[in-house]
């Protein structure tokens, strides 16, 4: 995947278009977040506000700091600089990128769901149903398929009735159909619970349609805005290289991009 030097991004930076500016109180605001690790700058100058009910997708190539950004937001990583502001009593639901459960650890789906806090059985079954994972409660985690596993992770995140659902490349190990089905499920859940969704992906075509706002990340925010606007932006095209451009052209039938192809 072609990744350009960081300064290219600043050159083609567009005016930031913020989809939810009219909503007064953001769930979460990042102020000038920077993360440096062993002398490497991973994130720099990240300003970001998440509004209630918004679906925001962060896209960017491997190593662009997407997962680092999520880890800062869930509190697993203290940023080197900058501040995070939370709305009071903000509940996060986190669906990790992938979760390896050691085969020596016996774990039923129901027991997994009840970590770290025990939940009433009816809440547990309702969450499984909302995530499209009904009937799996007594299964061992180790015997689930990739799609089932992701749905269980989603169900677990929903148990706490989150204000903000955070998904980190939740489609890993899923084929296109399973990914599309999983994102439809998330969209349904969002409408049912009214929560915001922040997700990270390097596969845009399926994700973007459902998103209110797409953020292009490559160490810094290259551009952001409505999916259509971002798909047409040179910053986005530069960032995601030929392979993704093909994919986008194929799945979105975007004329601009299709014309650009030989």
């Amino acid at each position: 995947m072609a990744s350009r030097p960081a300064e290219t991004g600043t050159l083609i930076q567009r005016p930031v278009h913020d989809a939810g500016q009219e909503v007064s109180m953001p769930l979460l605001t990042l102020h000038d977040i920077g993360v440096t690790r062993r002398g490497n700058t991973i994130l720099t100058g990240i300003d970001l506000a998440l509004q209630a009910g918004e679906i925001v997708t962060v896209v960017g190539p491997n190593g662009s700091g997407k997962t680092t950004l999520l880890r800062v937001i869930i509190g697993a990583l203290t940023p080197t600089r900058g501040e995070i502001e939370h709305r009071q009593a903000l509940t996060l639901g986190y669906v990790p990128q992938r979760l390896h459960i050691d085969p020596t650890l016996p774990m039923t789906v129901a027991r997994f769901m009840a970590l770290p806090r025990r939940r009433p059985a009816d809440a547990l079954y309702r969450a499984l149903e909302q995530a499209g994972a009904e009937g799996l409660a007594d299964r061992q985690m180790a015997t689930l398929s990739g799609g089932q596993f992701q749905r269980v992770l989603l169900a677990r995140a929903l148990l706490g009735r989150p204000d903000l659902l955070i998904l980190d490349e939740a489609n890993q190990g899923l084929d296109h159909r399973a990914t599309a089905a999983f994102y439809r499920q998330i969209d349904r859940v969002r409408r049912e619970l009214g929560c915001s969704v922040l997700m990270v992906s390097h596969e845009l075509h399926v994700v973007m349609k459902a998103s209110d706002r797409v953020i292009c990340l490559n160490g810094h925010i290259c551009c952001q805005g409505r999916p259509e606007a971002v798909a047409g932006s040179p910053a986005y095209r530069d960032l995601l290289g030929v392979e993704e451009r093909d994919a986008v052209a194929f799945y979105r039938h975007d004329h601009d991009l299709a014309e650009a192809l030989p």
Binding site: L92, P103, P106, R139
Partner: protein, 274 residues
């Protein structure tokens, strides 16, 4: 009185250690800390030497050194060396330094073998108090933090998202490990403590569908090994600590064979994929 019988005291001591070792051993297995447990246990011999030199209680010396060892390894990990290299260096050097240090202790006729493989038949009433006190403390600590520990074991990021600090949970486990080493040294000795942690937990795996059940089965297997090993050693006149570990290993083998027929809860058997 019943406690006057050395066999009864030995049985009680072994049972106490087995009970504390069960939940901790499960975490050691789940988190792949087996070598970490070994390093902590090996450091205990240095603790033995120090407590003799400073004429403090054996328990305090071993607890301190084991704890220091475990903390050192935790701090050093992720600083350039792979964990197994780091543990290889620290575990064996601690054992070597401990053995050298013990040789300096003059005027005490030291039964080194007793510390290396344990001397359960010499468990005194005071030892029993320490063993059970330590065991109950470990059980209480693990019980109180059970869900947080499990979550941190599954995934540090999930723990963070749930408001749990995985580093703190790691510290709880480290503390418990040092405590178990300190109370188990008399029963199985530094060389075999890790075996007592890991083997019952591993044997329990095929019969368990939840973490809690694995702990209970591991406790049962541990207690059975301790008491069965004691009886066997008494009858065959073999060293007690190693006999306990041998019995636990036989139970592990039997459990693995039985587990192959058990289906979905067994680690190797996977259900139909969709």
């Amino acid at each position: 009185m019943m406690l006057d019988d050395f066999l009864v005291r030995a049985a009680l001591g072994g049972t106490g250690v087995a009970l504390a070792a069960a939940p901790l051993g499960c975490f050691v297995v789940w988190r792949r800390m087996a070598y970490f447990g070994d390093a902590t246990a090996h450091a205990a011999i240095l603790g033995v030497a120090l407590s003799l030199v400073l004429s403090t209680s054996l328990f305090a010396g071993v607890l301190t050194v084991s704890l220091l060892m475990a903390m050192t390894v935790s701090v050093l990990s992720g600083r350039g060396y792979a964990m197994d290299t780091l543990l290889g260096v620290t575990a064996h050097s601690a054992l070597a330094f401990g053995l050298v240090a013990v040789s300096f202790v003059s005027g005490v006729r030291l039964d080194l073998m007793g510390y290396l493989v344990g001397d359960i038949l010499a468990v005194s009433r005071a030892d029993l108090a320490i063993i059970w006190g330590g065991a109950l403390l470990v059980l209480a600590l693990l019980g109180l933090r059970w869900s947080a520990l499990l979550t941190a074991t599954l995934s540090p990021d999930l723990a963070h998202a749930g408001g749990i600090d995985p580093k703190r949970e790691q510290l709880v486990l480290t503390l418990c490990l040092a405590m178990v080493v300190a109370v188990a040294i008399k029963v199985v000795g530094v060389l075999l403590i890790a075996a007592l942690l890991i083997i019952p937990a591993a044997a329990a795996r095929p019969f368990s569908h939840t973490p809690e059940r694995m702990v209970l089965v591991a406790a049962a297997i541990g207690v059975l090994s301790a008491n069965g090993g004691l009886a066997t050693a008494y009858r065959l006149d073999t060293p007690t600590g190693p006999t306990i570990v041998c019995l636990a290993t036989l139970l592990f083998l039997a459990a693995s064979l039985a587990g192959r027929r058990l289906g979905p809860t067994a680690p190797r058997a996977t259900g139909p994929r969709q």
